[in-house]
Amino acid sequence: MVDRPYGRPADTEAGVIRRNVPWLTAGTESSISFSPLQDLRGIITPNGLFFERYHSGRPDVEPDQHKLMIHGMVERPLILSMKDIVRFPSVSRIHFIECPANGGMEWRAAQLNSLQFNHGMISCAEWTGVRLSTLLEEVGIKKEAKWVMVEGADGAHMNRSLPLDKCLDDCLVVYAQNGEALRPEQGYPLRLVVPGWEGNVSIKWLRRIKLGDKPWHSREETSKYTDLMPDGTSRGFTWLIDAKSVITFPCPEKPLHSPGLYEIRGLAWTGNGKVKRVDVSTDGGVNWQSARLHEPVLSKALTRFTLPWRWDGAPALLESRVIDETGYVQPTIAQLRKQRGMNSVYHNNSIQTWQVKPDGSVFDVQLA
């Protein structure tokens, strides 16, 4: 029974893996891999399948050497070792992390016939660590402080500015993911989790936190992760992940085989808090039915939905539409384009349409 001291999936599950799009980025040092949502059954992403995004490769960080410095507009600047950090009161929270470029390849048209490649830059885990507010209270926040710069120990020393209020609200400095130490891909030994906000602000390999009176306007929040509008202006500091949902079965990777009764399955999420309702259409958005939401429905976490569907073998256009607890309704791609044009790259949270053909095959399409 100890032939597998660290277990692994059955050999026949070998195709359930992260995948990348080779033509998307210049090299693999600064790239992305996508979670295989078509094979995931719950709201928790297994650690080996959590999507990856690197801005300058994946460093190997020695936990005994790793230190976190907190300084700037604070009363008591501190250096904390990993041993120090795990002594603080611990909390566990389930939250998704989504890259704002998820779906970014589909702004102009349907391009990739895949659930994994069009939606796989989202994953969800139980994170364990210390509340960032606990650490900031420990160093003492000077009253002039309004912004917090967080910085990683990767090759890019990736850094972002965050408003102090968000840091005190729900941010976590975590060392564990789904009950075990963070994976190197996720920032081992220490990362930030900023619930409900675009993934790149959840700095991995967290090495430094600095408090200040203004934002830093780092490269990642000026030349990248800003949204170019049709009039030539850009939006910056667009951190929030708006509500989004997607049908994960059927999908291009998991077609139908013969007419009969199926369960349409999917995932919904929102950076605003909890999912309130998910509607499903089988006729391209003309008529809708509310799906069943499955417990637990957690704030800023993936939520599962299902709807029984008897497929008669006719062509169908499947869509899901989430409404979150603020009343925000997931838009169509046409509604998003009307506001933002086609060059904004990030924050495409539009309704996904899957075309089901009479042979059961499924294709990524966009509707007029």
Partner: protein
């Protein structure tokens, strides 16, 4: 008084301090870790702020020196004149293209703040060996890349005084307050839209990567 009782009192005190941030404990309550000394902070503190350049270190560098450093350290990926090799980022050009169908976002056409360029080169470049350039060389590279974009003259010398004064062409075109939600969809349930018309499909585009495993079996028929 036990430390837990003391802590509860502190929490109560914080809760009645209306209008201020509720602090659960006073600074140093846990007492973990070591106080960071000014020397330690100086060794870690690498950032320079984009808008006002606060954090830029002493040192200086001009366009001519920058051209030499660029040829040695940067040109292999970013191209001899900043045009970008392969899919590596283009640093130069794109002026006036931000409203075009295919805009070119470069340092010259897009970046709002010059000190951000110093900060990013210093923290992240060159990608295979970040943090190996001297402050002077980073200033020189910054001057050279701004000069390639016709933003500063040939005689420009970059330092902590001059960089924050450089007005980047796209400086005033950013909105730093998120205007979302910007769509106001209504959750209609029946007869909501005209019968759907497919505007685009991924079918037949051959852009989906071929991969090992089950995905191969779902390739376009």
């Amino acid at each position: 008084m036990s430390s837990w009782r003391k802590r509860i009192l502190l929490v109560c005190a914080a809760m009645v301090a209306a209008g201020s941030i509720a602090l659960a404990a006073e600074p140093g309550y846990y007492g973990y870790g070591e106080r960071a000394t000014p020397e330690q902070i100086a060794g870690w503190d690498i950032d320079a702020r984009g808008e006002d350049g606060v954090g830029l270190p002493p040192g200086r560098g001009g366009v001519i020196r920058g051209a030499d450093v660029y040829a040695e350290q940067c040109a292999a990926c970013h191209g001899t004149f900043g045009e970008g090799e392969g899919r590596f980022p283009k640093l130069v050009g794109g002026a006036g293209t931000l409203r075009d169908d295919r805009p070119e976002l470069t340092v010259g056409s897009y970046w709002p703040f010059a000190p951000t360029l110093w900060d990013y080169i210093n923290r992240a470049m060159p990608m295979p060996a970040p943090h190996t350039l001297s402050a002077d060389d980073v200033y020189a590279l910054t001057a050279y890349i701004l000069n390639l974009n016709d933003i500063v003259p040939n005689e420009f010398v970059a330092d902590r005084e001059s960089l924050p004064k450089v007005k980047m062409p796209n400086r005033d075109n950013f909105q730093w307050i998120d205007p979302r939600p910007d769509t106001m969809a209504k959750p209609c349930m029946n007869g909501c839209a005209d019968p759907a018309r497919i505007a685009s499909t991924a079918e037949g585009k051959k852009l989906t990567p071929r991969t090992t495993g089950p995905l191969d079996t779902m390739q376009v028929k």
